[in-house]
């Protein structure tokens, strides 16, 4: 009954795919379309490179966002001002645990920096 063998070879593809009945040709087309889509997405990504760094001045004056590549330093930032407060530092978390050193630290991902203030005496 080799008829049996060959005949149901297609059915052997079960498991998580269910009893998929599909020809190699259609799969080839799907694979090629998938790859083309993948490269299209990557190309789009390459044309819109860069990480946006935004500044939340916590009630102080606005600071312009910057667009940076991986490994870049931030452009020098004029410290923001706020009535009755003195600017301390920028940090990349809302608790101020990780201060950001504008001269030394480099951008490796999209970033949001928060301003931290001290009340004036």
């Amino acid at each position: 009954m080799e008829s049996n063998n060959n005949h149901s070879e297609k059915k052997e593809l079960k498991g998580f795919y269910g009893k998929a009945k599909i020809s190699v040709k259609i799969l080839d087309i799907a694979i090629v379309i998938g790859i083309v889509a993948l490269f299209a997405v990557l190309t789009f990504g390459m044309n819109h490179r860069g990480y946006t760094v935004t500044f939340d001045s916590n009630g102080g004056t606005m600071v312009e966002p910057q667009k940076k590549m991986y490994g870049d330093h931030l452009d020098p930032v004029e410290p923001p001002t706020r009535e009755g407060y003195e600017f301390l530092y920028w940090a990349n978390d809302i608790f101020g645990n990780n201060p950001w050193n504008i001269e030394k630290d480099v951008v490796t991902e999209p970033l949001k920096l928060y301003a931290f203030w001290q009340q004036k005496e």
Binding site: M1, E2, S3, N4, N5, N6, H7, S8, E9, E12
Partner: protein, 500 residues
């Protein structure tokens, strides 16, 4: 018989090459209208490859196909069907949760305007069924019907397309004798209408009965075409295997000893198995005969604990066995070869080695729970050698082997568990003649070693040739017991119909 001598279908010089193998080598077959043409050959002879080339499943590498003198090249089986060439598959592809007429008219529902018409569909189906003498309710759900009736639906579908050529691929492999009779009546009717029938089967007796011409293939080559009347069974076998095969069965040498296995009041929880009692001796081959769905398989599966029992005690050498699941049964010395090799036997994507050792892993524990590789390789090699399994290596995926070789691997798996009782369900199904003989020999060897073998088979000559006694099942009950040396097929059939 054949009153129309014109050639309806001619396959000329068909060649098909797979990487490394020439599956078909210039095969020419002519099928005349109003005849049944049997196609025979061992596994891998190229019968189904030839059919797949006809139906466009494979693209043939050379040759021509002529239907009524015109060259055709079907793109797929639908294309073939619409041109009057139909195939009744051995594995039926049907929408099981839908009813009969939905399946019949699938893809071409009779319509009233834009809506499908139930009534037209029903009438058309009934007319066709009356024509063919089929008594199936067109509104019955497919999954509730036995395989034989589903096959009738498939045949009716082929007829409804006005097919001129109908191919039957192993149509009787899951039918009982009575159902086979009905099938043959229908085939004869189609032949008398002038259809050309191509009939593929391994069963000699059937072929002799039904066919007008027989074409024999071997290793992808055409070997011979003769009128069926001119060929004796031995001739067919000789042509198929290319060597003299004097006997279909090896000589029986086993000597049954004392009573060993006792089964009492076996009843099924979710099947109709009812109060089956029997005994089997050491070194005995005990056959189980019966119609389809008579409970033969259920007896074996209930003993092995993979079907839930309602009642029943199993005693092996005076010791009661609970056999609640397969693991426990294996520990108690039982082994079970299931009917559906593909569905419940092989682990298709795993290697020969893993398929062989899976049931006897505890033998290979080396450091605590860790398994040693060396003994696994040794055991596997032992049974590859012992069974003459043809495989490139132990690490070949089992699905790439032929049916017979897969069966040998699984038998090896069970022998490794060192069983005392072997439960074999259709051990030779889908296996070619040469390999069948080897399996018979193996069964008798095991009996000679004092093992008890219970064997279910739909092929009566096989039971008569190999077994000592035969139990006949009917409608879930044990209908009787016969001595294999003195009984006849007629006696068994009478018993099998007792409660059916």
């Amino acid at each position: 018989m054949a009153n129309n001598e014109s050639v309806l279908l001619r396959m000329e010089d068909i060649t098909k090459v797979f990487p490394g193998v020439k599956a078909l080598d210039g095969v020419t077959v002519e099928v005349r209208a109003g005849t049944v043409h049997a196609l025979m050959g061992e596994n891998g002879a190229g019968k189904s490859t030839l059919m797949k080339c006809l139906f466009g499943v494979y693209h043939k590498d050379g040759g021509h196909i002529y239907l009524e003198g015109k060259e055709v090249d079907f793109k797929n089986s639908k294309d073939a069907l619409e041109n009057g060439v139909a195939m009744v598959h051995q594995e039926l592809n049907q929408a099981l949760t839908r009813n009969v007429m939905d399946n019949m008219w699938l893809g071409r529902f009779p319509k009233n305007g834009p809506f499908t018409s139930e009534k037209k569909m029903y009438d058309a189906t009934m007319k066709l069924f009356d024509d063919l003498g089929i008594t199936v309710n067109p509104k019955a759900i497919m999954s509730t019907m036995p395989v034989s009736q589903r096959q009738m639906v498939e045949i009716a579908k082929a007829v409804s397309y006005d097919s001129k050529v109908i191919v039957f691929d192993e149509p009787t492999s899951s039918l009982t004798e009575v159902e086979v009779e009905h099938l043959f009546r229908i085939i004869n009717m189609l032949r008398d209408r002038g259809c050309a029938i191509i009939y593929i089967s391994h069963k000699m007796a059937e072929i002799k009965r039904i066919s007008d011409d027989i074409t024999i293939m071997r290793d992808g080559k055409w070997i011979a075409t003769h009128p069926a009347a001119d060929l004796e069974m031995a001739d067919i076998i000789r042509l198929m295997v290319g060597r003299e095969l004097t006997n279909q069965f090896p000589p029986k040498t086993n000597k049954p000893g004392e009573t060993y296995l006792k089964v009492e009041n076996l009843s099924g929880m979710y099947n109709k198995l009812d109060n089956v009692c029997f005994e089997a001796r050491r070194g005995e081959v005990l056959g189980l005969a019966g119609l389809d769905a008579s409970g033969r398989t259920e007896v074996l599966e209930s003993i092995f604990g993979i079907r839930t029992r309602k009642s029943g005690t199993i005693t092996l050498a005076g010791k009661p066995c609970k056999n609640r699941n397969s693991g426990e049964s294996i520990k108690n010395g039982f082994a079970m070869l299931t009917e559906e090799r593909r569905a419940t036997g092989i682990f298709g994507v795993r290697s020969i080695l893993e398929n062989t050792v899976i049931s006897s892993l505890s033998r290979h524990k080396k450091f605590g729970p860790l398994l040693g590789m060396k003994t696994q390789v040794e055991d596997t090699q032992k049974y590859i050698d012992a069974m003459h399994t043809k495989t490139p290596s132990q690490h070949t995926q089992i699905r790439s082997l032929s049916g017979g070789n897969q069966q040998k691997v699984i038998i090896g798996r069970w022998l490794l568990t060192e069983p005392e009782v072997l439960l074999l369900d259709e051990p030779t199904r889908g296996i070619d003649v040469g390999a069948k003989y080897e399996i018979y020999q193996l069964i008798l060897d095991l009996a000679n070693q004092g093992k008890t073998v219970l064997m279910v088979s739909s092929e009566m000559p096989e039971l008569l040739g190999v077994c000592d006694r035969i139990l006949v099942m009917s409608g879930g009950k044990l209908a009787g017991e016969v001595d294999a040396r003195t009984t006849t097929q007629e006696e068994i059939m009478t018993l099998a119909a007792k409660y059916a």
